[in-house]
Amino acid sequence: MSEVRRVVGVAPTSRGFGFAVLEDGEVLVDWGLVHCRPPEPERVVERALALLARHDPDLLVLQATEVSRYGDRAKRFAVLLEEKARSTGVAVTAISSDAVRRHFAAYGLTKNDRAEEMAKRFPELRPRQPGKRRPWQSQDERMAIFNALSLVITLQTSTDP
């Protein structure tokens, strides 16, 4: 049976999480947003575990939350997901937002620049690319898909031989 390296990136949102699944570093297999109501971390984690069961990844990549600006609920979600994913045999790693920023530094400093770069590389993401955020607007939820993918790409590049 053929084997591939499949990595799932998950980025929390206020209502659930965004995810991206990349195979062999170049095939974007799945991506999207998951909403839960109410967005209690335990419920959101259940949905994330279902995603992991479906894709059976080699690795789950999360954002290192201890130094991030995520809220308590998102942090609790990340901790719970890491714990439960490990208990089901999925390897988990965390990438700091600094590492992501450094990796994408060549393309610009903002999340928008990163999203633009990723949409160029994966044109299928173009319809989900949020418009430029105005200072008075809150973050578009769809950005979580790009955040999740940026974690996977950063990891991939840092572990490439």
Partner: protein
């Protein structure tokens, strides 16, 4: 560590096509709200019948073997294994015109002899 290829990649091709599950279901001859069936295929809960699989190929523009890559590889592996068994039987048959053709067919299925695993058939 490596993961196995997924059973199917329908969702990936559907997302690339920009079509919703309901729209794909409609194109395949179902109702405009028949997306749940497509969802079951995408979640690997069931395999579609041949007509639907061919319909998916027409709608998503990807060959069935790519849409159901994992399933295809499983079938291919099974066929390859059985070809090796059949080849042993063919080799023991007396020489006849069709033997060469059959041997060539089995060799094509089995693939590169250099990559062949030892099955005790040689």
């Amino acid at each position: 560590m490596s993961a196995e290829v997924l059973g199917q990649y329908i969702k990936m091709y559907r997302l690339r096509s920009g079509l919703s599950q309901d729209e794909v279901a409609f194109l395949l001859g179902g109702s405009r709200t028949g997306g749940s069936k497509i969802s079951r295929y995408e979640l690997n809960r069931r395999l579609p019948p041949l007509e639907t699989a061919l319909g998916l190929e027409a709608v998503l523009g990807a060959p069935v073997r790519d849409l159901f890559k994992g399933e295809y590889l499983k079938v291919e592996e099974r066929v390859r294994h059985r070809s090796k068994i059949l080849r042993v039987a063919v080799e023991s048959e007396p020489e006849q015109p069709m033997k060469l053709v059959r041997r060539a067919t089995l060799q094509r299925i089995i693939g590169d002899p250099a990559e062949e695993e030892d099955t005790g058939s040689a």
